[in-house]
Symmetry: C2
């Protein structure tokens, strides 16, 4: 298949590009390299020393003989996007190319506006380009489990059948997103659903859980292929932060009581989910939604897992509780359905002690790149 990976220089996009390339697909990366600018803006960096996109792509070709073509540009630039569609005529468009950090969207008004315009208009442009040049192309769009919030009922995959006053309908699952970033993903989902219905496009919305891991089978082939590892209070996940803290002798900091439960997925499973979606496209006109995660943990669960591993490694970890900078329920019901990707053949990797130990060791190997003043949260929701 001819697959465009938009955002192919990012944490999920890069290993996805390599995996799809290794599986024999023709891979084309679109990226505006903004993720690297945000590191500069925030005076932060990936703990793993990542190479330029050009070096990475060249290294992949050297190592495997497989070519990945890259297009440097912005999805908001419709002329650029059109030229790529006209040249590639993709079978699938994998769309990771969004600003993906909730705290970044909450920095101030400018960052909220940037996040919503960047994400929503970028996606709108892709829909128009698909309609204009490749109506048979399958959009595989990264959403987030965070779109749903924490309702007091089971979270279904995108739709729910509601019985109400003696009548019944299957409707989009009600969303309660928790940041301007999460809202941008909800706006996207609504726009894409409409475009599928009205123009007969086909799309899969992958509501992904929190992704963990750094390396994949493909990025391990050469040190120059290493994936990024974010640890700062803006782009780093709680699990990454805990690993960095425990590996460097700092306290493991849990927001509030840590009762917030979320879905999680290994980066090795993310890349497989993308291919499973691509190999099994929906019908034209279908807007399909998968919940893309494999396990649920509370933040406190994660902290305790990291504690246990790093205690065994004699790192003397310690868990402390901080005031939560976000506005979210700390005690809530959480049960999200996630069977459709399993039905398509996903064989999950779970969060084992070995996987966690690997993460901690990654940090230890790159300890000199940790910026200690960037770990704790500085952006508040209120």
């Amino acid at each position: 298949m001819k697959i465009i990976v938009a955002g192919g220089d990012g944490f999920c996009g890069w290993p996805t590009s390599l995996y799809l390339s290794e599986q024999g697909h023709e891979v084309y990366i679109i990226d505006n390299l903004k993720r690297r600018d945000w590191d500069t803006e925030l005076e932060s960096q990936s703990i793993t020393p990542i190479k330029t996109l050009e070096d990475r792509v060249n290294c992949w070709e050297e190592t495997t003989g497989k070519k990945i073509k890259m297009y440097i540009g912005d999805l908001q630039d419709y002329d650029f996007l059109s030229s790529v569609f006209k040249e590639v005529h993709p079978d699938a468009f994998v769309h990771f190319a969004e600003q993906r950090a909730a705290p970044y969207s909450m920095i101030d008004r400018e960052h909220a506006v940037f996040t919503q315009v960047n994400n929503v208009i970028g996606t709108l442009n892709v829909l128009y380009a698909m309609r204009e040049y490749t109506p048979e192309c399958h959009m595989i769009k990264l959403g987030t489990m965070g779109e749903y919030g924490t309702p007091n009922i089971d979270i279904e995959e995108g739709y729910i059948t509601i019985e109400h006053k003696g009548r019944k309908d299957t409707l989009p699952f009600p969303k309660q997103p928790g940041s301007f970033y999460h809202l941008s993903k909800v706006h996207d989902s609504n726009n894409i659903m409409f475009a599928c219905r009205v123009w007969g496009l086909k799309a899969t919305d992958l509501n992904q859980g929190v992704v963990y891991g750094v390396q994949t089978h493909q990025t391990r082939k050469d040190p120059r292929l290493v994936n990024r590892f974010d640890f700062d209070g803006v782009f780093g996940t709680a699990l990454n932060r805990f690993c960095v803290q425990a590996a460097t002798g700092s306290d493991i900091t849990v927001y509030g009581q840590g009762g917030q439960t979320r879905g999680f997925i290994d980066i090795e499973d993310t890349i497989r989910c993308i291919e499973l979606a691509a190999l099994n496209p929906p019908e034209s006109g279908d807007f399909r939604v998968f919940n893309q995660f494999t396990e649920e943990f509370s933040v406190q669960d994660l902290a305790e897992k990291v504690y246990k591993i790093t205690d065994n490694m004699n790192l003397n970890p310690n868990i402390v509780h901080l005031e939560n900078p976000r506005v979210e329920k700390e005690v809530h019901y959480y049960n999200a359905i996630h069977t459709q990707l399993m039905d398509l053949g996903l064989k999950p990797h779970y969060l084992t002690d070995a996987r966690l130990e690997e993460l901690v060791k990654h940090v230890q190997e790159n300890k000199d790149r940790v910026l200690y003043d960037k770990i704790l949260p500085t952006i508040k929701w209120r």
Copy 2:
């Protein structure tokens, strides 16, 4: 009360401003005058010859002794918006200032992008300005019944209690908007709901039905105060189009079989609903949703009403059916709850023969301003 009416030069905003002013409130209009530019762009015009905003406001002061201050600028310009908030410190912010035509948003990609950025970012800026300068200000936001689409269950006012697999929660009512314009309103609602929850702001989302009528008690005080009347295929409603067609000897054109049922409201009730919302604000942190309409009609019902009236006026009307340029169900269940504004004291005006006759006579009086080649739809959804 000190009330800002954003979009105060428009079809709903102008009569609302006059009504609130007459009721004794201090009214401040914000408008970027874009609605007039769109007429220029589309080579169309209001059938009623409206005056400039400056002339209208001066005429109101001459006629009633009441002053309305106006600020010409764009909600996307945060410095401008901030300066107004700092000067006025409003108790309520009535927000009509959006691109409000579904067909306009469907012209092409540029118009879809414009509509979503204009509406969503304008509203986001108002939320930030409220948070920064007047957290006690009540946002009264115009939404649309079109956000809900046509689900096969009763449409509740903003929220629905769902029982699912033995558990229960009250969640945002699932939306199925039918154009990029309607989607922009859904995006707005989601952003506002979040801002209320996280920042403790207060807002009322008025999901308004199709508004009909031209004049109100206040606009009738002087011909220079006349409200606009849109008839073209982009900004005109079906009812307006039917009146223009019947008044000028053209066929009344119904899209498809005309089974599409919608909620309707008289402009005289719109202005009262705004004041009712303003006088009865929600608590801080509340995002309240009212369905703002008084009657339901199918498009075919409307055509037949216009037929009957204009037949009595010996205008020899004729109803024909055109291919529907939109993608929407023509046969569907429709029952939308709309009790909250009635509970606050709304006394509805209904769509009487007299009201319809007045509309037709308005057209007859301004027959020379009808642009016949602008009546039929040219913008297609597919």
